[in-house]
């Protein structure tokens, strides 16, 4: 059956709620409305107001309240309406959610999932297209995962809800309506494992979330020009699958990291830094990054100038010190 990413996410919460009644879903507009993206559609109807409910409009409050509920044994799944609207919760996330277990030597644990729709390409007005995942990856104590496929949306979210630790679950808005033939429930690779989306020998593209389809498209295009491109979907930024990444790059000798977030100190920088370290002797060219530009996210009409598209990936590939010049 063709299932959309939104449906898969919905099913994941639904199944988790059915399996464990300590799982609660709350946030802004997640109740009757079912979320502005309908990811929580029907949960209140089917599980009752006690299990899926709206809160006052205050993100720091939502996350802090969820932490308190976790202390009472609940497993809260909270929704931040858009990436930039999670910023008010930054202190709660950085100073408490990420640190509570460590602070208390494992006594107080925070099995919380913070769902954040992220990224652009949907024609959103300002503040609706930020890619904030890198901030969370820079906070020790948080796991950060992001699906690029419908099956992963289900499986990663189930795993996130089951996880004994806080998980920042980044949902690529642009892929919310993407569909795939999937039978739910489905389980895919676990946290910390990258997935091979396309096999290749000449070069490794590393992508996650919204850039995975873009990377695949670029790989196809490069394939037509005679380059055999491997594409890895990272899925889990923290923990990161260093082994699979390194194995691939050691084989291909070339690597481009593709991410929507602005480049400076983004997760892509981390990945590039690791790859050059791990694969130094195998690299035939520097690790390049194709990322969002170093500017505030543009208004819709100009967002293509910001986003890492196929052309920019191909440009980067062309620069990878090939023995003979490649024309892409």
């Amino acid at each position: 059956m063709a299932v959309s990413m939104v449906q898969a996410l919905n099913a994941a919460m639904r199944d988790a709620m059915a399996a464990d009644e300590s799982v609660l879903v709350f946030g802004e507009d997640v109740g009757a409305l079912g979320g502005v993206f309908r990811v929580t559609d029907g949960l209140t109807r089917d599980f009752g107001e006690d299990r899926c409910f709206d809160t006052p409009l205050a993100e720091s409050g939502i996350v802090g309240f969820a932490l308190g509920m976790a202390m009472e044994g609940f497993r809260p799944v909270v929704e931040m309406q858009f990436d930039a609207f999670a910023y008010p919760a930054f202190e709660q996330i950085a100073s408490h959610v990420a640190k509570m277990r460590n602070r208390t030597r494992g006594s107080v644990t925070v099995p919380m999932v913070i769902r954040i729709p992220y990224g652009g390409g949907i024609g959103g007005v300002e503040h609706h297209s930020d890619s904030s995942e890198s901030h969370y990856t820079h906070i020790p104590g948080l796991k950060v995962v992001t699906p690029a496929t419908v099956a992963d949306a289900y499986s990663l979210l189930r795993e996130a809800i089951d996880d004994p630790d806080p998980v920042v679950f980044m949902e690529p808005k642009k892929l919310y309506w993407s569909k795939a033939e999937v039978t739910l429930p489905v389980r895919t690779e676990r946290f910390g494992q990258a997935a091979l989306r396309r096999q290749g020998t000449d070069l490794t593209l590393l992508a996650y979330g919204p850039t995975v389809p873009v990377a695949l498209e670029a790989a196809e295009a490069a394939g037509e020009a005679g380059l055999d491109v491997e594409v890895l979907d990272l899925r889990s930024l923290v923990p990161l699958d260093d082994e699979t990444i390194a194995a691939s790059v050691r084989r291909t000798g070339r690597c481009v990291v593709v991410a929507e977030a602005t480049s400076y100190a983004g997760a892509a920088a981390e990945i590039a830094a690791r790859v050059q370290q791990e694969c130094f002797y195998s690299l035939d060219a520097p690790v390049l990054r194709v990322t969002g530009a170093g500017i505030p996210y543009p208004p819709p009409i100009l967002e293509d100038h910001y986003l890492p598209g196929v052309d920019r990936i191909l440009d980067a590939i062309a620069q990878l010190e090939w023995d003979e010049p490649v024309r892409l």
């Binding site: 802004e28 507009d29 109740g31 009757a32 409305l33 079912g34 502005v36 709206d54 809160t55 006052p56 409009l57 205050a58 720091s60 409050g61 930039a84 609207f85 910023y87 008010p88 024609g123 959103g124 007005v125 300002e126 503040h127 609706h128 530009a293 170093g294 500017i295 505030p296 543009p298 208004p299 819709p300 009409i301 100009l302 100038h305 910001y306 598209g309 052309d311 920019r312 440009d315």
Partner: protein, 370 residues
Amino acid sequence: MIKSSGDLETMRQPIHLLPSPSPVRFVDPEGRPAPLEEHGDYEAPPLALAKQAYRQMVLGRRFDEEATALTRQGRLAVYPSSRGQEACQVGGVLALRPEDWLFPTYRDTMAVITRGVDAVQALGLLRGDWHCGYDPMTTRVAPQCTPLATHAPHAAGLAYGARRRGKDTVAMVFIGDGGTSEGDFHEALNFAAVFAAPVVFVVQNNRYAISVPLARQSAAPALAYKGVGYGVRSEQVDGNDAIAVLAVLADAVAHARSGHGPVLVEAHTYRIEAHTNADDAGRYRDASEVDAWLRRDPVARLEAYLRGADSLTDAEIDDARREAEDFAVRTRERMAAEPVCEPSELFEHVFASPTRQLHTERDRLLGERG
């Protein structure tokens, strides 16, 4: 109402800060004069102002309709309608002088055009061609703010800054009922109070934050009761009664301007349309609720009131409608032109002068094929 007199110390007594126990009203829902005891000691606005408000409300409503229509034609990315909130949108702005500042939200485009900002520029954000289509410094209208309540501290800072410069500028900031739940609303009220900044906080309590009803937003007797906890004078007003809104806000602005510190005004109103054109209000509220509020329509109510007072002729009404129609048509025509947006501007306005890296990146990104 507590007149803005007496020393600051006295005025900080709870009794001087608490709002009227029920919303101030001058006109009942049918457009008849409300009993005097509902006026809360406020003075009715001058008739000329009330008539000006009427014209602007008619225009604002028509503009709002046109904007919603533009979303259907793909000319606007999204539009949050303020239909039903015309008395607040217009009444708020008419309480201001040109040298004052308005800090609106995404919902307040009607207020922005009432303030005199060009309609097409005002729709810039929602059209998606630039984040803020007008020039805040010349229009004295801050960018329409999306992250809720975050503009409230800006208003407090600007108002305090202006006072420090010896100006008598007032800053008026619009916030939704939902926005009052955010920490920034709290911090802004507190800063304004502590620094006695001339800010008027206008909470348009339209009873919904997207789908979340007021009862899930606050358990307060009324949002106006938040003021006393900051030492901020507060009031609540029937936000669908333009006369009352004008009366209360004139007083609030005068209070702030005279150096007595900020004022919090809660205007009880209702969002007639869905949150935006993209929202489906049927999921969370009954049509009957909307119907009940349609019967308290602020435009019809003011019209009936002014007519009843023999202060509005048919010709004037026609005229107001024609003006509104013209405005809408002109706006539609001008919105038909494709927006011109220079990609290089993206890199120009990151810093006063682009860094080397920005130069390089611009050349790379804008020079590339495709």
